[in-house]
């Protein structure tokens, strides 16, 4: 099962390499990874998606927690949460396709952020499933390039991840 693990990490050089190294070293798989500073400049917020059975996820969270620079950790998929991923996708858009792609982008609440004679660049946000559904809807054949940020997530309601 897919899990979204969210980490507050000391904002120090080398901290990220410990997290990533741990996954390589112990044979765990990272599907997506996103990291950026928070409002507290001593902390970074890192979100990663990984998959495995309960036992494997338990080991992953325990091993991550052992890293000195991991300050707090939560498996967002254990409770209600919001997840978002941003995608920039460049698609071939010529002739009748142009209108069709525009309509599909609208349906998915995407925005065309750059246009040329034969290419649209579309920005789309949502869950990973939604991004994949969009690619399927416009047809993989016309996709020239995609770039995705990986998943960011946050708990719903009052629950917060802080010091």
């Amino acid at each position: 099962m897919r899990h979204i693990i969210s980490i507050l990490l000391e904002n120090e050089p080398g901290a990220l390499s410990r997290v990533v190294g741990l996954f390589a070293q112990r044979g765990y798989n990272i599907e997506t990874l996103t990291v950026a500073p928070t409002e507290d400049n001593t902390l970074s917020r890192l979100t990663m998606t990984t998959s495995g059975d309960d036992r494997k996820i338990e080991q992953i969270t325990k091993q991550l927690n052992k890293l000195i620079e991991v300050v707090k950790l939560v498996d967002l998929s254990e409770g209600p949460h919001i997840e978002r991923e941003l995608m920039l996708i460049k698609v071939k858009a010529v002739g009748a396709q142009r209108a069709e792609i525009k309509r599909t982008a609208d349906i998915f609440r995407g925005q065309i952020v750059d246009v040329s004679a034969s290419v649209y660049t579309i920005q789309l946000t949502g869950t990973s499933d939604k991004l994949e559904a969009f690619i399927e809807a416009i047809g993989a054949g016309c996709v020239l390039e995609t770039v995705r940020t990986g998943v960011s997530g946050i708990s719903r309601g009052e629950k917060i991840l802080s010091l």
Binding site: E10, P13, G14, S17, R18, G21, Q25, R55, E58, Q59, K62, Q63, N65, K66, I68, E69, V70, V71, L163
Partner: protein, 574 residues
């Protein structure tokens, strides 16, 4: 406030962290630090002949004293040479602080002379690591390093110091922190009371219990508490390779080591137990054999300070995360309060069964009719000659298993071996680290002609500092454990398990200024031991003892079997 250079701060901070000895080797990036070392006498430095040995010496010191061992090496090859030693300490949870020099900070990344990414190289085998970025941070980093290395589940910590952080002419205010605070590092101080209560209830109801104790008991200094619990409950106790000595090897409730080369009775007790209390042990693959067949009828209680050790390989029923000693105290308090006692009748019949198992194999081996000795009898002779009270270090292979099986350790911290990583070349430098700190104690390195050659250059260090360890080389002229596996699984094809062209060890140790004694037959051993431990008491003695190369270590678990599936000799299987 006092103004010190970075190099002076480092040395001062080490002193304030309680460091007596540094094991190291100088080089370009550390010259300022070595100059600072020269100008003081509080912290002593031991010059090794190879940096790997420095790490093993510090490790031996740490295992015998419980205090962090300290290593100091230069950048590049100095740093990389410590990697095996750091990994050895990491796998066995040994506190260690490794200070590695680094090229000037403005050269980092330029492939400068003797530059290597030590933090990157060591990352998977350290508990934590630091790079010094401002000289004034040195005291705090050192204090943090010692705190992290020695608390919780101990482990090695690396401090990487670029040369320009130690410049003699740049001085900064020195302040060693009174208290170390790390918001993201808080090792557990006590176990969960509810879980401890559950554990005690299970133990009181047990009909076929066993206490399986590992290196965590020794690291926590809780051997006395383990002994008190075992004896109070009248339960059998087995030790892991790392836990030997936590319960007395000659104790009547001791059933021996468990696992791949454990005793028949220890493995049978584990397999048939209804309650297993694991203390500071980690269900290593060399213990469990096939995890799917492990202890089929047992409820398992597991005490460990590291939550990631719990339910990693074996799912346990009652996990308790906390320091061993503290949890054992709480267990004893609950037993004191309780009106219940263990089921005496069930325990008596369990002991009856265990005593029958004890008769089956009883660590027997056949002695040769000829003078050529079996390795087991040499270990038994050493045990007798040292009255079972020596610090024994070992390398890795058959000799290690024979030492673990036949030297009965009655005290903790006396058996010093690379249990987890299995590092050949560990034993000799580790023995040196022990002997320097316990000059009055007997320190014996049990080794083989293969392992000893992996750090034999330290004979030179021993001469320089006068370190009279005793080296017992069980010389079978082959890489014994490899050969054993080849005998058992590869139809006796001894692919590269011979040690051809062995040196004349006697001449070699004499060239290094020590005493060498060769023993080729049984009749020569008593006199050789007498000379080793009495006549040459204050000298390093290398005892080169010829032993039977055909001998195998038994019992040996059958691969992919349960704990009770064992070879008991070359021809007998359970």
């Amino acid at each position: 406030m006092e103004l010190l250079s970075g190099g002076e701060m480092l040395v001062r901070a080490l002193h304030e962290s309680g460091v007596e000895y540094i094991y190291g080797y100088p080089g370009g990036s550390l010259l300022h630090v070595y100059d600072a070392l020269y100008k003081q006498s509080a912290v002593k430095h031991v010059l090794v002949r190879h940096e790997q040995a420095a790490a093993h010496m510090a490790d031996g010191y740490a295992r015998a004293t419980g205090k962090p061992g300290v290593v100091m090496v230069t950048s590049g090859p100095g740093a990389t040479n410590t990697i095996t030693g750091i990994a050895t300490a990491y796998t066995d949870s040994i506190p260690m602080v490794v200070i590695s020099g680094q090229v000037m900070s403005y050269l980092v990344g330029d492939d400068a002379f003797q530059e290597t990414d030590m933090l990157g190289l060591s990352r998977p085998i350290v508990k934590h690591s630091f790079a010094v970025r401002r000289p004034e941070d040195i005291p705090e980093i050192v204090a943090k390093a010692f705190h992290i290395a020695s608390t919780g589940r101990p482990g090695p910590v690396v401090i990487d110091i670029p040369k320009d952080m130690t410049m003699p002419n740049e001085r900064y205010e020195y302040a060693y922190p009174k208290k170390v605070k790390l918001r993201s590092y808080t090792p557990p101080q006590r176990g969960h009371s509810g879980q401890i209560k559950k554990a005690v209830e299970l133990l009181l109801k047990a009909k076929r219990p066993v206490i399986y104790a590992g290196g965590g008991v020794i690291i926590d200094g809780s051997s006395d508490k383990l002994r008190a619990l075992v004896d109070r409950m009248d339960f059998p106790c087995t030790n892991t390779l790392m836990g030997l000595g936590s319960y007395p090897g000659t104790g009547e409730r001791f059933v021996g080591m468990l696992g791949m080369h454990g005793t028949y009775e220890a493995n049978m007790v584990m397999h048939h137990a209804d309650v297993v209390l694991a203390i500071g042990a980690r269900f290593d693959d060399r213990v469990t054999n096939a995890t799917s067949k492990f202890c089929p009828d047992a409820k398992i209680i597991h005490i460990d300070i590291d939550p990631s050790c719990i339910s990693k390989t074996i799912i346990v029923d009652v996990p308790i995360v906390g320091p061993v000693g503290n949890v054992l105290d709480e267990m004893m308090a609950l037993l004191d309060e309780s009106n219940e006692v263990p089921d005496a009748e069930a325990i008596a019949s369990w002991w009856k069964q265990i005593n029958e198992w004890r008769q089956r194999h009883a660590m027997r081996y056949e002695k040769n009719d000829s003078q050529l000795m079996k390795p087991q009898e040499v270990i038994e002779a050493i045990w007798a000659a040292t009255k079972g009270d020596a610090y024994v270090t070992s390398d890795v292979g058959q000799h290690q298993m024979f030492a673990a099986q036949y030297y009965k350790f009655d005290k903790p911290n006396r058996w010093i071996n690379s249990g987890g990583l299995g590092t050949m070349g560990f034993g000799f430098p580790a023995a040196m680290g022990v002997k320097m700190n316990f000059p009055e104690e007997m320190v014996v390195c049990v080794t083989g002609e293969g392992s000893i050659q992996m750090n034999i250059q330290e004979l030179s260090t021993c001469l320089q500092y006068g370190i009279p360890v005793k080296i017992l080389c069980l010389n079978n002229g082959s890489l014994g454990m490899v050969r054993q596996w080849q005998d058992m699984n590869y139809e006796g094809r001894h692919s590269h398990s011979y040690m051809e062209s062995l040196p004349d060890f006697i001449k070699l140790v004499e060239a290094y200024g020590h005493v060498g004694i060769r023993v080729t037959g049984r009749d020569e051993l008593p006199q050789a031991l007498e000379d080793t431990f009495n006549k040459y008491n204050d000298r390093l003695v290398f005892l080169d003892v010829a032993v039977d190369p055909e001998e195998h270590v038994y019992p040996m678990q059958v691969p992919a079997g349960s704990m009770r599936d064992m070879w008991l000799s070359k021809t007998e299987r359970t």
